[in-house]
């Protein structure tokens, strides 16, 4: 992996985001070194339907909530969590 090459992440989508984007998972290329914010920016550029939800999305990496400032590593499982409504 080289700083000038983009890294591709598969991003999991659920509920309203899954419906708005029309897919349960999308691939997003992020320039290395990749961060959560850069991934969200790239995703929003490719899928404008995500934009309105950006303020309420929480990022999960490897099934754990993380701040957007997180540094991403190739192979990380990334998911976008809109406000949950279980129970």
């Amino acid at each position: 992996m080289n700083e000038s090459h983009p890294v591709v992440f598969t991003v999991l989508l659920f509920s309203i985001l899954r419906e708005k984007v029309g897919r349960a998972a999308v691939d997003v290329a992020v320039p290395a070194p990749a961060t959560g914010s850069a991934l969200l920016d790239a995703l929003e550029a490719a899928h404008p339907a995500v934009a309105p939800y950006r303020p309420v999305i929480r990022l999960a990496v490897n099934q754990t909530y993380v701040p957007e400032s997180v540094r991403l590593t190739e192979g990380d499982e990334v998911a976008l969590i809109t406000p949950v409504s279980g129970g």
Partner: protein, 141 residues
């Protein structure tokens, strides 16, 4: 799990000779929300993370209260009116802790565990329920 939740089995599991009380919360599908009538709810889940989050919440509860037994069950898929979508149960030596820990677990579940409900109304429309705004993760935003 996609089958009806078994409250009697939860109760049986929570019985413990070290405990004097157990508290059970059962969340059910409510028919009316304001003037809109619900037929059923449908739940979607990010399963591996939901299980991890539930375990994290249980660990946190065990660190705060003297819990001998605990269960957290959530149904997925379609849940008709009056059926249970969630069962949380806690057994402790004395009752105050059982109430407090059970309340903590359901309150946190509703903010942290990646499960989403969709309302199916009698007029044929459906709608994703917008959950409570969670606290921002430290360092975020």
């Amino acid at each position: 799990m996609h089958e009806p939740l078994d409250v009697a089995a939860a109760d049986a599991y929570l019985r413990d000779a070290r405990c004097g009380g157990l508290n059970l919360f059962v969340g059910t599908t409510r028919q009316w929300t304001g003037t809109r009538e619900t037929v059923e709810l449908a739940y979607e889940c990010y399963e591996p993370m939901a299980i991890k989050e539930m375990q994290r919440l249980v660990d946190e509860a065990k660190a705060r209260w003297p819990i001998e037994r605990v269960c957290v069950l959530h149904r997925l898929g379609v849940v008709p009116v009056a059926e249970a979508s969630v069962v949380v149960g806690v057994a402790t030596p004395h009752r105050a802790a059982a109430f407090e820990a059970c309340r903590f677990l359901i309150d946190e579940l509703k903010v942290q565990v990646p499960i989403w409900k969709r309302e199916h109304y009698t007029d044929g429309t459906t709608e994703w329920v917008q959950g409570a705004q969670p606290p921002r993760v430290e360092g975020e935003g």
